[in-house]
Symmetry: C2
Subunit: 227 residues, 2 copies
């Protein structure tokens, strides 16, 4: 019965859950108020408007993620491992997964920070021999962060396909983490195929910088059967 949180916090948490479930546009303020056990007028009293409530949610999530983030790069460069384990992780992560799509500036800043952190951590990992060196330090950090967040956003599909809930206990995410880590360790593509891709994009760049001179017939950049 005793709910230690203030009414303002209860409203914000209720909004977080409902916005995460159905999206902001599909969630009436009345539903938020009902879930928090208050009147709709009190929601307006505390936040001023539905949009301001949404912004407050964005800021709360961003602040919490910032507070909880740790340098855990070993298991697949996962910037959210600490959050996953914490009690209030699931609703927060669900909300984050939703709002990664509708371009809230607070969330965009958060992603930028995650990328910067990932770059620092991977470069440190290169020093300690945990992480391989790369030709594209920043771009690799972007790619790894995007993949990590992308699997979070699509957690429903991951759950259906692998039976692994990425929003739950990190110790039970092996169904996803194991193959992902295998890919991130041993790779998928063989070296000659990679060189073909590199050459194809280099040719495209050359064609763009000097578009007048003729280029040899190469309309499909990835051939696939070359050995």
């Amino acid at each position: 019965m005793a709910d230690e949180r203030t009414a303002r916090e209860r409203i914000r948490d209720a909004a977080l859950e409902l916005f995460a479930e159905a999206g902001v546009a599909a969630t009436p303020v009345r539903a938020v108020a009902a879930r928090a056990g208050v009147s709709t007028a009190l929601v307006m009293h505390h936040f001023g408007s539905k949009d301001a409530l949404r912004t407050a949610c964005d800021e709360h999530v961003a602040a919490t993620v910032r507070a909880r983030k740790t340098a855990s790069v070993g298991a697949g460069a996962d910037p959210l491992a600490a959050l996953r384990a914490s009690g209030d992780g699931p609703p927060l992560l669900r909300y984050l997964a939703r709002t990664l799509l509708d371009g809230a500036p607070q969330v965009a800043d958060l992603v930028d920070e995650m990328v910067a952190d990932a770059q620092v951590y991977t470069e440190a990992g290169v020093g300690t021999g945990v992480v391989r060196p790369t030709d594209f330090p920043r771009e690799r950090a972007v790619v790894l962060t995007i993949w990590s967040l992308g699997s979070l956003v699509l957690h429903e599909h991951v759950s259906r396909l692998l039976g692994t809930d990425l929003l739950g206990d990190p110790r039970s995410t092996g169904g996803y983490t194991l193959p992902a880590t295998e890919v991130l360790t041993r790779g998928v593509i063989t070296e000659p195929s990679y060189q073909q891709v590199r050459a194809a994009f280099a040719a495209l760049d050359a064609e763009r910088t000097a578009p007048d001179q003729e280029t040899p017939d190469q309309e499909t950049p990835h051939r696939g059967e070359g050995r």
Copy 2:
């Protein structure tokens, strides 16, 4: 002036664009009708309800993706390369990126097919020497498909971070494809770190199947500095 499409197709295409931009819940039927140049009543006449219109969009996207999909596994296991190149790709891909989140069954089936295709293609690639073998053929196909779709869903962040529009011309996606392919070729994590992750999850499994016997102190599964 001559628009060859029927009014029904114009409505469906307008809905596709608007739903992709702002989401279904935030798009009024009136806006769809206005974009298509018809009355709102005609939208209802053709589709019956907003929800049915949404379903029609889902089915149209699924059908188009199925029609366009090709076996292009060389450049990072991208199941949507053909679609990207085609003219009506962008709005379709934008819609797909949106609806991958709200669990439409047609889209879920589509994802399942993509995974199945990815598994077939990667296993064929192992035979021709383009793709490396794996301990988890199906799980690897899931992971690669999820990463590919995840980067599509987060294309806005990719664009901001790398200046590369994944929805546009595939020949100008090198900013993303090159580092992604490098990661998928040479890996990120070193072999000993991978073995640590494997051992940690194996220990967790053992603990779960025989939870009574004591296990050695290992509360954090990824240590990171072990060498």
